[in-house]
């Protein structure tokens, strides 16, 4: 059951290259929140009236140095709303609605290795997800692509907890090129293992990852983005075309039926 709270920013940390980590206290909201679920965050009195959707990045326990009951949001400045968010100092009031959406689903059995694919700020939901999977599934393989080395935020954190491979558009870190290249190679190499894919990032990347998974018969959960007004299913603004039973194409709401969708269902 989502709650709508007004709370104070506890920390808002510049991670460089326009990436920020926001922290606020929301113990009740955090209890039972699933990785890849999201919040709608608003800034009262600001030039934006609609809230913006942000995945939960850290739940209590994800980042062990953070105060108890706090949650973290990892975000990138791309427009007015994120710019205003980045301008907030500790103590500033924000409105938070959550938890929203469905969240990632665990692999069906304990032998399945989770394969995580992140593009840029699409890495946001993975810290909470990695913490949740920890010790119950084989250590994840992670493929993390970004524009340049600066954009590989939290790469050290991921490297400690996953088998991480990075890729950058400019070659400043990891493979030079798209993250889907090391991903395809690895999937071909790991044919004997049971794998399940989880991806979050820009739409073209998600389409490519879905295709790669489909070609190999692998289950693949994509965490989608969409313009949202409400975040809780009533404005019908955030839809994506999906294939219903019988291949008819309809629209599902990213905020309610998603943001996590099975790649096979999308009619992109």
């Amino acid at each position: 059951m989502p709650r709508d709270i007004t709370t104070a920013v506890l920390a808002n940390t510049d991670l460089g290259a326009g990436n920020w980590l926001l922290e606020f206290g929301a113990p009740e909201m955090a209890a039972g929140m699933r990785p890849a679920q999201f919040f709608m965050i608003g800034i009262p009195g600001s030039a934006t009236i609609l809230r913006r959707p942000y995945s939960v990045c850290g739940l209590p326990g994800t980042f062990d140095d953070r105060p108890h009951g706090t949650v973290q949001v990892l975000y990138k400045v791309v427009g007015q709303g994120t710019r205003l968010l980045a301008s907030l100092a500790p103590g500033a009031r924000i409105t938070v609605l959550g938890p929203l959406g469905n969240g990632f689903n665990e692999p069906d059995d304990a032998e399945t290795t989770p394969v995580l694919v992140a593009g840029g700020i699409g890495s946001a939901p993975f810290p909470a997800w990695i913490s949740k999977l920890k010790d119950r599934f084989p250590p994840p393989l992670m493929f993390y692509g970004a524009a340049g080395a600066d954009d590989l935020v939290l790469a050290d954190w991921f490297a400690e907890r996953t088998e991480l491979q990075t890729a950058t558009d400019d070659g400043s870190a990891g493979t030079h090129g798209l993250v889907t290249e090391p991903l395809s190679r690895a999937l071909d190499r790991e044919r004997d293992r049971k794998l399940k894919l989880y991806a979050c990032g820009p739409e073209p990347m998600l389409q490519a990852v879905g295709k790669i998974a489909g070609e190999r018969g692998l289950t693949c959960e994509l965490s989608l983005e969409a313009h949202m007004a409400c975040g809780f299913g009533v404005c019908l603004g955030c839809v994506v075309p999906v294939r219903r039973d019988g291949d008819e194409v309809g629209y599902d709401r990213v905020c309610l039926e998603g943001p996590v969708m099975d790649a096979r269902c999308l009619a992109w």
Binding site: P2, I49, A229, C230, F232, C235, L236, G237, V239, P241
Partner: protein, 312 residues
């Protein structure tokens, strides 16, 4: 030192007796049930459903919405479950609540409007019909029903005959003189007018050099349009004798009171429901507080009171 213990918020909107003047606007409140986690539906005077058509509609391809300064554009394309599914799946659950269910209706032809109204007439638990006339009339080459006085008169009269339910006509603001269409709707049989629907607008994605919305243009709602909507309410109040329901950018009691003082007997909260799921209830509670603080015993005495020439 207020003498008012509990102000009387009840209003009479033509054939509708409402406990308070706060309704929610079509397309911003789903079929009501979606809001069960966030508020008590009984607390609201009523709500207006998403627009209902004869058959289900999938709506427009995305992107469908974008924020604009103090507003948002939408081109949902009237996605809805259709009137039959509404009557079958939603109404039974809604009847459990003590709240006025107002069915918003639209069609692409006059016959479609009539079809939906007739079906609602037979259903139990519908308090009133609100005609959404901001739809392109496919028989008339896409002309908007609500932007043409003659077409509006005709579709209103046809719907008037098709059901005994109280009939609200929701005016389009995209006209040169809203008093003309207001009069046409009243002459066609509207017992109440609601206003306004969204203003047509667009945003260009400068990086991609094309419209943000897939369908190019959409409807502007939110605080940005409030001054325009209040003015239209003010004008229509002077032009016709039926009660009005005002809307456009209401998110506080003061916003609601602007419409009421301009002549609205009730208001609808729209886009503000997206900002806070209980946005409508916030307006209602603030309104009650405001009346107490200002020692106003009945809200009804404020309806149209802004027009009085007496200096305040």
């Amino acid at each position: 030192m207020s003498g008012v213990v509990e102000p009387d918020l009840s209003v009479t909107v033509g054939p509708l007796a409402l406990e308070n003047p706060v309704l929610t606007a079509s397309g911003t409140f789903g079929y009501g049930l979606e809001f069960e986690p966030f508020l008590k539906l009984d607390e609201l005077a009523g709500f207006v459903t998403k627009g209902l058509s004869p058959r289900p509609r999938e709506g427009n391809p995305p992107p469908r919405i974008v924020e604009t300064p103090a507003g948002m554009l939408n081109t949902i394309g009237l996605q809805n479950i259709g009137v039959d599914a509404f009557i079958r799946d939603k109404l039974p659950r809604l009847r459990e609540y003590d709240t006025a269910v107002i069915a918003n209706v639209f069609g692409e032809t006059e016959a479609e409007y009539v079809e939906v109204c007739s079906k609602l007439d037979q259903a139990e638990g519908v308090a009133a019909i609100e005609l959404n006339v901001s739809c392109p009339n496919t028989e008339q080459g896409g002309m908007i029903f609500g932007n043409d006085a003659a077409a509006l008169h005709a579709v209103t009269a046809a719907c008037r005959k098709a059901s005994r339910l109280p009939l609200i006509v929701k005016l389009s603001p995209n006209v040169t003189d809203i008093r003309v269409t207001a009069r046409a709707a009243v002459e066609g049989g509207a017992e109440v007018l609601s206003l306004v629907n969204t203003f047509v607008g667009m945003q260009v994605d400068v990086e991609r050099r094309r419209p943000v919305l897939k369908k190019v243009c959409g409807g502007l709602s939110g605080p940005a349009i409030r001054p325009l909507a209040v003015w239209m309410t003010w004008q229509v109040h002077e032009a016709v004798d039926v009660p009005l329901i005002g809307m456009g950018g209401i998110s506080t009691a003061a916003d609601a009171l602007e419409f009421i003082l301009a002549g609205a007997s009730a208001v609808q909260v729209g886009t503000a429901n997206f900002v806070h799921p209980d946005g409508s209830i916030r307006v209602l509670r603030e309104l009650r507080e405001w009346l107490k603080e200002h020692d106003v015993a009945t809200l009804r005495e404020l309806i149209g009171a802004g027009h009085s020439k007496a200096p305040a």
